[in-house]
Symmetry: C2
Subunit: 395 residues, 2 copies
């Protein structure tokens, strides 16, 4: 297992692309604080501040660990001299007049108001939309990392077949499959951007445990073990005939996958046959129409048509208050990247986008069925990230 570093050339290209987008938006200087964004631009995730002007050289101030930053980033950096001193440096360089970009979607209010004062400026704009746009198109290097994360998921789904037994709990199944992924180099973290966002590495749902609605913008989050951690696998025991969904995310070298497979013991309860067949139809249709140039809305809408024909729209991607209005989401360094496959997101697919596609049905008091696959957008098709068959596994 060798974790390949991102090249200096690629990092520079990312920063230059970001500067072009800053120019389009009239942003003179961006201050970048978040660990993932800093890693994306510098190759290191140390406590630091990255200052990118609209043109010319960026400034990288590292606070801690200097030792690690030296090993990890190909860039020169300065030792963080304190916030006041950085503000003075930026003022001297004339970088504090005009529109300032910050990650306002996640930067704490107290940090933000402090920097407002330090920079003596009130014109701030959220740069996450342009970072997100940039991060939406993955490089060859990034796709390679996602595919390596995919090999972990492939292993886990293979193992799942041996481990699922009547009577064991979702939690036991989770614990075992988490172990299987971790020992192959899964970092054990799935980053999700946003305030109050938490993400389990694995969620096993089965029958009613999958049907309870959640706080999150996700179709199935699991009942979890307790109100204090209201997501993830529960203590429900595995029963015959009832679909078991294993939703697994692996993180390899920072990049994540997010896939779901359905399993069942002996045979599938008749109730779930139609929604399962409908799930397959949606995937076949998406594989047929998906490629560079397809609009994300069209993927959602064609799926929705299939669902309507099957008269299952009340249960598609949740029911009642739990219904979500997307069928896919970008993945990369975080699990909630762009593109979002929803009628609200008018975006044309482009080569290098990577997204999780997850048609799922949730039937209150009954159970859940669905599939989640990660796709790489190519000129002429959608390429799969993993190789495990996506069809229902009957055990």
């Amino acid at each position: 297992m060798i974790f390949e570093k991102v090249s200096k050339e690629e990092l520079l290209k990312r920063i230059e692309s970001f500067q072009l987008k800053m120019q389009e938006k009239g942003i003179v200087t961006s201050l970048i604080f978040q660990n993932v964004d800093i890693y994306y631009f510098t190759g290191t995730m140390q406590k630091s501040l990255l200052v990118i002007p609209e043109k010319g050289n960026f400034l990288f101030f590292v606070q801690k660990s200097i030792e690690r930053a030296k090993i990890e980033t190909p860039f020169e950096f300065e030792i963080h001299p304190g916030e006041q001193e950085i503000a003075n440096i930026l003022k001297k360089k004339g970088l504090t007049k005009g529109k300032i970009g910050m990650e306002l979607d996640i930067l704490p209010a107290s940090t933000f108001t402090n920097w407002q004062k330090l920079l003596d400026n009130t014109d701030f704009v959220n740069i996450y939309p342009i970072i997100r746009e940039l991060r939406m198109i993955k490089s060859g290097y990034e796709i390679e990392q996602i595919k390596k994360a995919g090999t972990i998921v492939d292993h886990v789904f293979k193992k799942a077949k041996d481990i699922i037994k009547e009577g064991i709990t979702e939690l036991e199944l989770s614990a075992t499959l988490e172990y299987e992924g971790r020992k192959l180099g899964h970092s054990g973290i799935l980053r999700m951007r946003g305030f109050n966002q938490e993400m389990d590495n694995i969620t096993v749902t089965h029958g009613t445990s999958g049907t309870i609605t959640s706080y999150a913008d996700a179709p199935i989050l699991g009942a979890g073990l307790c109100p204090a951690v209201p997501h993830g696998s529960s203590l429900k025991k595995i029963e015959k005939y009832l679909p078991i969904l294993i939703d697994y995310g692996a993180c390899y070298n920072g990049y994540v996958t997010d896939e779901t497979r359905p399993f069942v013991i002996e045979k599938l309860d008749d109730f779930f046959k139609k929604p399962y067949e409908t799930t397959l139809q949606i995937i076949y249709k998406t594989l047929e129409i998906g490629r560079e140039g397809t609009n994300a809305k069209d993927i959602f809408n064609s799926a929705n048509e299939i669902v309507k024909k099957a008269h299952l729209e009340d249960f598609f991607m949740g029911y009642g208050e739990g219904k979500v209005f997307f069928i896919g989401h970008g993945i990369g360094l975080e699990i909630n990247e762009f593109p979002v496959i929803t009628p609200k997101h008018d975006i044309t697919l482009k080569e290098g986008m990577v997204f999780a596609f997850e048609p799922k049905f949730i039937f209150p008091q009954k159970g859940v069925i669905g599939i989640e696959l990660d796709f790489i957008v190519r000129k002429d098709k959608l390429e799969r990230v993993t190789t495990t068959p996506f069809e229902l596994q009957i055990l």
Copy 2:
């Protein structure tokens, strides 16, 4: 395994205590957004907004999931009518004039500036300091949950003795022990408050993998697997004679423990004998002087004296830029609670405080040794959370 809910009486007491603290600080209304804080006051962790006035009834607006909130909280609540509408309600009730409390340490800048406009107010204050003070003293119920998390840690340290073998990697050891904790009901999450904060459930460090400094305010964070996830266990193989530190946090019913045990195969390398003996002396001394009424500074200072006598001060709690200036931290729903055991924190221990105490030594190029124990402050002593011996285990 039955996860006991917190009682309505206890929740009401927490809210009343919070209101008293608001009155002391002259805060007229507090808006609470963070999942953990909302859980602390309401018993549910749904997407919601909790509004606490300095006196009288609080308002609880739940957005999603209504279904779960109904099951989980003993309180009545309203369906979240949208932020503008909530602002109107608060204005009508006269709750928006005067000092407004918010969790400014973690609330995103964009959410904050939006609420500034909605409430037409500029006088905001961070309420985390008073929430932290409140959460610092644990109830009997809370201590019970922490002790249950402790039984998971006890199990894991027992298992570790069977699993540690020469030649296996830190990662394999981690994966196995994570599994052992998870199947006993560990929720697989260790919450750490703060921007860019991440916490592994387990970190195995051994020799040089433990000595690399980290971005975090922690003595040992582990080398991790890659620059994109720069913490946690590494691929280093376990060797004889070199101390192996297993730092494990379990989360039971939302409450966490955080303990470390040293292990070694065959015998301890002479180099680590003095720091190990010094670690023990620090623990004995702390057990001798720790009780309600002891100042946290005195615990730190008496430890520091022992370290100085042993001429090990350059390596205590890190070296160089990696040195941290605390020897313990509160635990509860999050892993970085109060009290902090540091000379900077002039605080008198009180019955019901719970903290992790972690004298550790880090020797560059060599390795790490230390112990971490969780203590409950009692009138006449420090009570341990776990029962596993804390001494070095020779395998």
